[in-house]
Point group: C2
């Protein structure tokens, strides 16, 4: 085990090169965090920390926060803010894709840009609004996934509640 290579070695090399060319140091924790997020996209900081601990048992959530923020800043990760949930991260950067979250179970799916590519960067402004130079457009779809539609009301207890109210998960 001198070389200590498991996991996708190709990706690791790729990330190392990327970090290097960005003038950033290549560290175990950065590679581990990248691998964790690559392996399970849309991870929260906690998720990532748990995954990383398999390799670096002593890492703390705070360190993971620092690494995540830095990698996001460097452009190697993308941060997603889903409603009623901590921030999530993914390695798929650069392409203009969006997300759909199921209001039933909270699962998140990737969605290709609805309009094509650039068009969603040219919004039609509401009357009276000042114009902006749009740089990114994040679309967040919300709905019910097929699985959750099969189980109409597996809820715990709402007596007179209408079936289609708020769902919090997690």
């Amino acid at each position: 085990m001198t070389t200590g290579t498991h996991r996708s070695d190709a990706l690791e090399a790729q990330w190392s090169r990327a970090l290097h060319s960005l003038g950033r140091r290549v560290t175990r924790q950065r590679l581990a965090v990248l691998a964790a997020v690559e392996h399970s996209p849309h991870s929260t900081a906690d998720d990532a920390a748990a995954a990383v601990r398999a390799e670096l048992p002593h890492i703390t959530v705070q360190s993971v926060y620092v690494v995540l923020a830095d990698l996001t800043d460097a452009g190697l990760l993308r941060r997603i803010e889903t409603p009623h949930s901590p921030a999530r991260y993914e390695t798929r950067v650069g392409d203009n894709h969006h997300h759909a979250v199921c209001t039933g179970c909270g699962r998140i799916e990737d969605v290709d840009c609805a309009v094509g590519h650039a068009p969603c960067l040219t919004p039609s402004w509401a009357p009276g609004s000042g114009r902006m130079t749009i740089q990114i457009a994040e679309v967040m779809y919300q709905g019910l996934c097929d699985d959750c539609r099969d189980i109409p009301a597996q809820s715990t207890d709402h007596s007179t509640d209408s079936p289609q109210k708020e769902h919090h998960e997690r």
Copy 2:
């Protein structure tokens, strides 16, 4: 001052009716919160609490949280989650409009739906994703407003920082 009416009385009556028909009680704090959010849209819970205190000096943020959550649940308010900022609320519900936030100053503008109306509810799915029944599509644009483009770097202090990094406001 027996009638105690100031502020937009018409709106207040409208909200009262809405609450009533939803089987919910009409309370001072609900009306005050609605008025506060109506007056300055995209308010945070803190903003709303501050505004409401002009009328109900003893109200606490926690109560405002409860009221906001309940009104959102009732469909009288809409909750917006902007990146790097607490949740915000607005009274404009029902229409399918989106938001643009300036990465410079954090100001938020309303944006009419880019695609028209319904189309943004029919996303093109990424390969391998399970389908979902989309209910709402929130689009979050990010960019620089004209004001912030005029002042390229009025920042406090970033020495070697590139001008286009993270901005936190509030």
